[in-house]
Amino acid sequence: MMSLSRARHIEAVNYTWQQTWPFLAIMVVLFAIFLSSCAAPKSFEEGLLYGYGQNAALQKSAAISLQSGAISKADATRVQTMANQATAALDAATQVGCGVTPEHVRNAPAGTPLKCLKQVPQSALEQLSLANKVLEALQSFLNNMTTKK
């Protein structure tokens, strides 16, 4: 049979954990975002791959956050608008910088190298930069929405 002091100790530990874990969890998320930015791409090709991947991850996060009630429908619609902007910028950067449309990329035979221009045009770099800015804003928006609830 559990003693009264032991039961109180367990209760105190549980209470402390309930109070501190959200703070710890937010710290872990910020650390993960920091690690993710450390692994950020350096070349134009890497930037495209990373951009599409990050956009996909954020949209999936938003979908599940909406289903779990962590964000509202209006928030999710805003995420969708921003994600569409990022996709459009990435598609434009791919087309100008690598001379291929998303359609070409999807239909390319397996093992075809992605050959982007050695001197990537300024407009393509601007589109990639725009996509990155939208993705940063999107991530920040989603983090704010989910931690606010």
């Binding site: 969890a25 998320v29 990373y50 996909a56 949209q59 996709t87 990329v105 075809t112 992605l114």
Partner: protein, 67 residues
């Protein structure tokens, strides 16, 4: 579902996505450092991933009740 459970769920999801992003970025970096070119398949895979995210978000919005 309580506040704590929702937050825990969302955080675990974000962590999963962050770690998969790090994994993709690291793999590609290793291949580029080894002098291997990036393939159009790699880009096509990420584009398909993006399309899937778009579809899932649209489905979630369509099925969610009004605010």
């Amino acid at each position: 579902m309580g506040y704590a459970q929702i937050l825990q769920f969302v955080i675990s999801l974000i962590l999963t996505n962050s770690s998969s992003l790090i994994e993709v970025a690291t793999k590609i970096k290793e291949r580029m450092e080894a002098g291997e070119p990036i393939m159009q398949d790699d880009l096509a895979a990420q584009m398909a991933n993006n399309e899937e995210g778009k579809r899932l978000l649209q489905e979630a919005i369509d099925s969610a009740p009004p605010d």
